[in-house]
């Protein structure tokens, strides 16, 4: 799904926090977003994900505007992940159950993604009892399990230990290649964006300051 952003303007009270005239995010690649704190990265991702729907301008998904259909193919991993007060397994299974995936398939897919992100030993813990890094991994798994065409990630590795970062980066690239999905990832880590991203957008005070290949 190619993303087209046109004349996007988002205000909080009187302050303009996003002001993007024209921006295209390519289909089937990993795009990185970076920029100083408070430059509007999270806000932009929320707008794209349809979470934030009070703004001026247009966001087009493969040429069409946001719809229920697109919603089913899009997902966002929040900067501060929120997990449900149930087991990690149930957390990850949730988007599949929403889509009425048969039980066996759910079991299988959750195990698979659990293997990929090395969180199978957490499966029986409760979502709200995890450590910061653990929750981030589970939130990522919950997003990836639904095999979205558009995967939006807000600093997904900020609280991970270096070993996990390597593992997750590897899984993510493999996964993206395999599914051919579009990934947008916010990161402050330049090394990381170099390793992961095909394209990088840099925001500054709500405007696109840089858009290109690292």
């Amino acid at each position: 799904m190619e993303l087209g952003i046109h004349n996007l303007r988002k205000r909080y009270q009187n302050e303009v926090v996003l002001d993007i005239d024209d921006l295209t995010i390519e289909e089937g690649v990993i795009t990185g977003i970076t920029g100083p704190n408070g430059s509007g990265k999270t806000t932009l991702l929320n707008v794209i994900a349809g979470i934030e729907d009070c703004y001026e301008g247009k966001v087009l998904y493969g040429g069409k505007s946001y719809s229920d259909e697109i919603k089913l193919k899009t997902t966002l991993v929040f900067q501060k992940p929120y997990l449900f007060r149930r087991s990690v397994f149930d957390n990850i299974a949730y988007p599949l159950n929403l889509r009425k995936v048969p039980r066996d398939t759910v079991q299988e897919k959750v195990r698979e993604i659990g293997n990929l992100l090395s969180i199978n030993d957490l499966m029986n813990k409760k979502g709200h009892q995890l450590s910061g890094g653990e929750s981030q991994k589970v939130a990522l798994a919950r997003a990836m399990v639904m095999e979205p065409e558009l995967l939006l990630l807000d600093e997904p590795t900020a609280s991970l230990d270096p070993e996990s970062v390597v593992k997750i980066e590897k899984s993510l690239t493999e996964y993206q290649k395999w599914k051919g999905c579009t990934v947008v990832i916010i990161t402050h880590n330049i090394e990381q964006s170099r390793r992961l991203c095909d394209k990088v957008i840099c925001l500054e005070r709500g405007k696109v300051a840089l858009n290109g290949v690292l």
Binding site: A49, I51, T75, F78, F84, R85, A143, M146
Partner: protein, 229 residues
């Protein structure tokens, strides 16, 4: 003071005498208030959550109306229901006035604002974050409603217990639509009220104590359920 002490003693005597009449009254209280709470909950817990997480024009107005409706006096609820169900009223053909069914109807109407208001405020405060996550995972608003109800089930149970408490402890509505008819529509609070107007204070206090014991039991059950989680 004497009356109060005596009331406590009589409460236990009453319970231990196994007087079927007393147990009938207690049973009807439980039946009416439980039915009302359950019926109201089925519709208004989901609705409260739904309104709490939805943004729409006029939401401010709805907020205020919901909270306002929580202060409708039970006598008025009773009166209006009685007027509707009366033989000459629009629903008179049903012949429901002065039956337990009428009491259930009145109490359902009475607890609806409470259930709606408490659920609404809970969803507005704590449901929005959950809704965002569900939305990001492709869920519809109704998926969010179900998810929020499951996530906050303990709080919802506490809210329902509060509403049930309100129902089982109110007297205005059940007195008017039930009529406190012996063996038919007599519940704990109408009996208390009658005992009070008969000057039988210890008996009134005894029944009040029984009501509190029931309520304590219900909260204990909810509490131990919440601990299991």
């Amino acid at each position: 003071m004497e009356y109060i002490k005596q009331g406590f003693i009589e409460a236990f005597q009453l319970l231990l005498q196994f007087d079927p009449e007393v147990y009938d009254v207690i049973g009807l209280s439980l039946f009416v208030s439980t039915s009302a709470t359950v019926i109201a909950a089925f519709v208004f817990v989901p609705l409260g959550v739904y309104l709490g997480i939805k943004d729409f024009k006029g939401k401010k107005m709805i907020s205020r109306l919901i909270y306002t409706s929580m202060s409708i006096p039970s006598v008025i609820v009773g009166l209006v229901v009685a007027l509707l169900l009366a033989r000459r009223g629009p629903l008179g053909f049903l012949g429901l006035l002065y039956t337990p069914k009428a009491m259930i109807i009145a109490q359902t109407i009475l607890v609806i604002p409470l259930i709606l208001g408490l659920t609404y405020s809970m969803a507005k405060n704590r449901g929005v974050a959950i809704h965002k996550v569900a939305k990001s995972l492709g869920g519809t608003r109704w998926d969010s409603v179900i998810l929020i109800i499951r996530e906050l089930r303990i709080d919802i149970l506490v809210n329902l217990a509060t509403s049930f408490s309100r129902a089982i402890s109110e007297v205005g509505a059940v007195m008017i639509v039930g009529g406190n008819i012996k063996g038919q529509t007599r519940v704990i609070t109408t009996t208390i009220s009658m005992m009070n107007s008969m000057g039988e204070y210890p008996m009134a206090i005894a029944l009040g104590t029984i009501l509190l014991i029931i309520s304590f039991g219900i909260h204990s059950i909810i509490y131990s359920y919440s601990q299991e989680e």
